[in-house]
């Protein structure tokens, strides 16, 4: 029986126990959530580029972005059959809102309500990308208006409820003292302790790190790697990926016209182009003979940023890309978007059942301990039984213990352990450190070797106690993989 099924059964029992109380509806919602797409919240400090990244992931410019502080209301973007926007006010019934869209982002008419009176907005939008995950855009923390930052806190760390998100993409511009505090608040307490299992760090606006130099992304990658190995960061996120958000958004929504404009810049002499691109102001004013109107220049700057224009023009000039499709692909690659999508796939989507069960069990645990009811104790016991015995949860627990530095050993052994239990991704080939195209025989042989290796470690009396326990979990992971491979 799958983890999801077992979770569903416990939930069903809980619904019986709480039938007729005000909590029934909430439990039904938790159960239904198991069949919905994974919920991924995008959080971070203000102006970290949350809405921009959301647009890049959706592949459409849905969320409004602005130079000032922009997102003030928690906004859900989910897949659906029709286009609609629903506002959930803090008081009173939900209501549908009118919206318009010409060219750019959705412009929502709040119908006279003040943003602070609206609890959240739900945007339903037919989209392939949103079918895999429902994305939640949050207002930034560290915002000058207290009200706005409190909203992000409420969403991710509510005092009385389970968190509405199953996983979180945490955008950091460069590690800031406030960041960790926030991420910590998102961590739950019971199912699996301080928990780097449901959070990925994104070093956003990565092009800014080198202030737009063409080699900025290389710098950003180096920093992301260092951050990902920092003990304090490891405790809270699984990994850190650098992304130049604006460029990513533009790459996946690139138009022929824009490529045409870039070509004009690429046609300049390298020296002239350097002079032109020295500063944003210069780009808007110099070289009138370029053949771009000031409106066009402004639009280009807004879409690409100085870094994007420098990079795009260089790629075209050097012939690395010549068509819009090629340029789009190249820019998406270089902006770090592809890497982020891969990481999301292996760390979140492949493990979506575990993450969703986890959210549901958390909610159930909170309820049974908070609201006494005949039969609630049995439910609590079953939740604990499930959490303690399900192998995926054991993997998560070992993973977070390793990340927290509680399980220690030789660095290569610990790295091997992390990978085997799914720390870099749940797919078999990732766990075994093989390429995606490895054949079944190859996989089986490697899995067999890993099993032997971890059995030896588990039984070796010299192995530290904590590592030996973790090794037993790794053995179980290897056995699971071999069983899966045998079935194919």
């Amino acid at each position: 029986m799958s983890l999801l099924d077992r979770t569903r059964i416990v939930l069903q029992k809980a619904i019986e126990v709480y039938r007729g109380t005000g909590h029934e509806a909430r439990l039904v919602a938790v159960r239904d959530r198991l069949d919905e797409p994974l919920r991924v919240a995008i959080a971070g400090r203000i102006k970290a580029g949350k809405s921009t990244l959301l647009n890049a992931l959706v592949g459409d410019r849905l969320a409004p972005t602005d130079a000032g502080e922009c997102t003030r209301i928690v906004t859900w973007y989910q897949d659906g059959h029709t286009y609609q926007v629903i506002a959930h006010p803090r008081r009173g019934a939900a209501r549908q809102l009118r919206f318009s869209r010409d060219g750019g982002a959705i412009d929502i008419d709040l119908a006279g309500q003040r943003p602070e009176d609206i609890d959240q907005l739900v945007v339903t939008w037919p989209s392939q990308e949103l079918r895999t995950a429902t994305l939640i855009d949050t207002p930034g923390i560290g915002s000058l208006s207290e009200q706005v930052s409190r909203r992000a806190w409420e969403l991710l760390a509510p005092d009385d409820e389970e968190t509405p998100a199953d996983a979180v993409l945490y955008l950091m511009r460069h590690l800031h003292a406030n960041d960790l505090e926030f991420l910590r608040a998102f961590q739950d307490t019971e199912v699996s302790r301080p928990n780097p299992v449901n959070a990925i760090g994104v070093l956003s606006r990565a092009d800014e790190i080198g202030v737009g130099r063409v080699d900025s992304m290389a710098s950003a990658r180096r920093i992301a790697t260092r951050l990902a190995s920092d003990i304090n960061v490891r405790r809270v996120v699984q990994t850190v990926v650098p992304v130049a958000g604006l460029l990513a958004e533009t790459a996946v929504t690139l138009t022929e016209t824009e490529v045409g404009h870039l070509r004009k810049i690429a046609a300049l002499q390298p020296r002239e182009s350097e002079e032109l691109l020295l500063s944003a102001d210069r780009f808007l004013e110099k070289f009138p003979e370029l053949g771009l109107t000031s409106m066009e220049r402004e639009a280009l700057l807004g879409r690409f940023g100085l870094f994007g224009i420098r990079l795009g023009a260089t790629l075209l000039r050097r012939g690395v890309a010549s068509t819009a499709t090629e340029l789009s692909r190249e820019l998406a690659e270089r902006s770090g978007l592809r890497e982020l999508q891969d990481v999301l796939g292996s760390l979140f989507f492949e493990r979506r059942d575990v993450l969703k069960s986890r959210s549901a069990l958390l909610a159930l645990d909170t309820l049974t301990r908070g609201v006494a009811r005949p039969g609630a104790e049995t439910i609590a016991a079953e939740v604990e039984q499930l959490v303690a015995s399900a192998h995926p949860f054991n993997e998560l627990r070992v993973l977070s213990s390793v990340r927290a530095g509680w399980v220690t050993g030789k660095p290569d052994v610990v790295a091997d352990l992390e990978r085997i239990i799914g720390g870099s991704g749940g797919a078999t080939h990732i766990r075994l450190g093989l390429d995606a195209d490895a054949g079944p025989a190859d996989l089986k042989a490697t899995a067999g070797e890993a099993l032997g290796r971890w059995q030896r470690r588990a039984e070796n009396p010299m192995t530290a106690h904590e590592l030996a326990v973790a090794a037993r979990v790794a053995v179980r992971s290897c056995e699971g993989m071999l069983a899966d491979l045998g079935r194919v």
Binding site: L144, L278, E384, F393, N394
Partner: protein, 588 residues
């Protein structure tokens, strides 16, 4: 500044002509101060805002290492020097220096430097620095809550001006504004610099938003937008138009006029008052001689008078002098006040921390706990230090008051017994104008040399890492089994007591280090004040002795000699009076 220099030179010549090496010593110190006034311009802001790039662009030289990732970890003092050179600064009294090759400086300044140093001093031949400006590049504050923010504020409290750096990527955050507000209270001459405008197309909007935030916060701080890469390019290519475009024209103007100019005017005024005081000293001996010469009958009285004054002046030099007692008692009181305040503050932190630990599980929250504790302690230390600073200034004022009263009596007495109207008139001019010596200044000078804010950086640095020790994590957490919750609770209790112990050890350590440091600082202040006023007493003594000598000699002269000498004296006094007038003309 040149005027002040010329004035001091004239004063020095007078000291030489009238054989007063003691007064010359004082003026030599003043002259050195004028040549190298040490005007501190502190560059502060959150990290990765382009502070080091700004310093480099401002000076038109690569002095501070710039890197995409690693940040400045120790304060860097950039000042003028004929030859480029670099020194590592180590904590101590006086600060220990160790020369280092300029190209190796980088490894000491950036994070994870190999040695623990208090700072790096770099000297370069730059026109902008020639007037004694010292640009201090500080480690980023990393959020208001961080320990480094407290250290930066400590540095700012000693600064003559502050450049607060924020980049054009986003409007000022709450923590930045809070920091700026505190910095502004500590040092009124502040400017907010908006960097990287070349890279952010929306910088004008950000600038406007920031101006609005500053206004709303009631901060009268100008905002200047700059681009370091443009400036660097402009300096390299000698491109004046691009220099204007980079926005550095305005910044340089602010630095030279408001920062350099303001400090220079203050220094010139101080120097002028020193020269005026020296004139008074020298004139006092001539006045006495003149009184004795003008009326031989009065000569005896003048001599008696000066002899009486001699005893008093000598009394001023002894430990029993009232100012000296005030100083000794004051320092002792201050020591116990500051110590008590520190203990009290730390006790409160401990209570708060205990409370916080009770509410969480240290296994989850220790890193935050640690940084919280450090920053909390940092701010308490800053507040404690602010108290020390304020009370030391008050004490210095009291000492100066008592010294002035005592020395004033000496000279008043001298004047009362002078019968000649000529001499009576001099009574007013006779008093050495100690009032002009700004009270409190001495204590600040001592604090500045002793403290300089650098201490906070090293202090917090050396106390980083509140060791929790290995955390007891039972295997129950690694391998799930039933009864998890009870086991967890037991372990949690254990971890909590472990955390409380670690926190207490840290606080004890802070108490110890900081207590020692403030005792040392106070001792330095005491020594400086004592030396200063003993020196003044010695000068008075010498002036009195010379006056006595001259008056005694006058009694032995013939009438012809007297007339001749009187004419000479008149001329000398006129010259001194003219010099004094010139010194007094310098606006204070």
């Amino acid at each position: 500044m040149d005027d002040a220099n010329a004035l001091v030179d004239l004063g020095l010549r007078a000291c030489e002509a009238y054989d007063r090496p003691d007064l010359a010593r004082r003026l030599t110190v003043t002259k050195r101060g004028l040549a190298d006034p040490g005007i501190h311009l502190v560059v502060a802001g959150e990290f990765k805002q382009g502070k080091s790039s700004l310093v480099n662009a401002l000076l038109g030289a690569t002095v501070c290492p710039v890197d995409d990732d690693v940040a400045t970890a120790v304060p860097t003092y950039v000042r003028h020097g004929a030859e480029p050179r670099a020194d590592l600064l180590f904590d101590g009294d006086p600060v220990r220096r160790e020369p280092v090759a300029l190209e190796d400086v980088r490894q000491y300044i950036v994070e994870n430097g190999r040695q623990r140093i208090a700072g790096v001093e770099i000297r370069i031949p730059r026109q902008l620095l020639a007037n004694g400006l010292i640009v201090v590049d500080t480690p980023g504050v990393g959020g208001l809550g961080s320990a480094h923010a407290a250290a930066s504020l400590a540095a700012i409290s000693m600064a003559d001006a502050v450049l607060f750096v924020t980049d054009a990527s986003q409007e000022l955050t709450r923590s930045e504004l809070d920091f700026l507000r505190q910095a502004y209270q500590l040092c009124g001459a502040a400017v907010c610099v908006l960097t990287k405008f070349d890279f952010y197309p929306a910088w004008r909007k950000i600038k406007e938003l920031n101006e609005r935030h500053l206004r709303a916060a009631g901060l009268n701080v100008p905002l200047i937008a700059v681009s370091s890469p443009l400036r660097a390019r402009a300096v390299k290519g000698g491109d004046a138009a691009m220099n204007t475009e980079s926005g550095f024209g305005d910044l340089v103007k602010f630095v030279t006029e408001r920062v350099g100019g303001g400090a220079a005017a203050r220094l010139a005024a101080d120097a002028a008052s020193e020269v005026a005081a020296v004139c008074d000293h020298i004139a006092s001996q001539f006045e006495a001689e003149k009184a004795a010469l003008a009326d031989p009958a009065a000569a005896r009285r003048v001599i008696d008078e000066l002899t009486a004054a001699k005893a008093r002046v000598e009394g001023l030099k002894t430990a029993a002098a009232r100012w000296n007692q005030t100083l000794n008692d004051g320092i002792a009181d201050l020591n116990s006040d500051v110590d008590h305040d520190l203990r009290d503050r730390i006790r409160k932190v401990i209570a708060e921390a205990d409370d916080a630990i009770e509410r969480v599980d240290p296994a989850d929250t220790w890193p935050q706990m640690e940084s919280w504790l450090q920053s909390r302690i940092g701010y308490e230390l800053l507040a404690n230090y602010a108290q020390l600073r304020q009370q030391a200034a008050e004490l210095s004022e009291r000492v100066s008051e008592h010294f002035r009263e005592a020395s004033g009596e000496v000279f008043d007495q001298l004047a009362v017994f002078n019968p000649a109207p000529l001499v009576t008139r001099t009574r007013v001019e006779h008093k050495i104008e100690l009032e002009k010596m700004k009270a409190g200044k001495q204590a600040m000078v001592a604090l500045k040399s002793a403290y300089g804010g650098a201490l906070m950086f090293t202090m917090l640095g050396s106390l980083m890492g509140v060791m929790l020790g290995p955390i007891g994590i039972g295997i129950g957490l690694v391998m799930g089994h039933k009864g998890l919750r009870e086991e967890k609770k037991r372990q949690q209790t254990q971890r909590r007591s472990q955390a409380k112990n670690a926190m207490r050890r840290y606080c004890d350590e802070v108490n110890f280090v900081m207590g020692k440091d403030s005792r040392d600082t106070l001792r330095r202040i005491q020594r400086q004040l004592r030396d200063h006023y003993s020196g003044l007493a010695e000068e008075l003594n010498r002036s009195n002795a010379q006056a006595l000598q001259a008056a005694t000699d006058a009694a032995k002269r013939t009438q012809a000699e007297r007339d001749q000498r009187l004419r000479d004296l008149g001329a000398e006094l006129d010259r001194l009076r003219a010099l004094k007038q010139r010194a007094l003309a310098v606006p204070a």
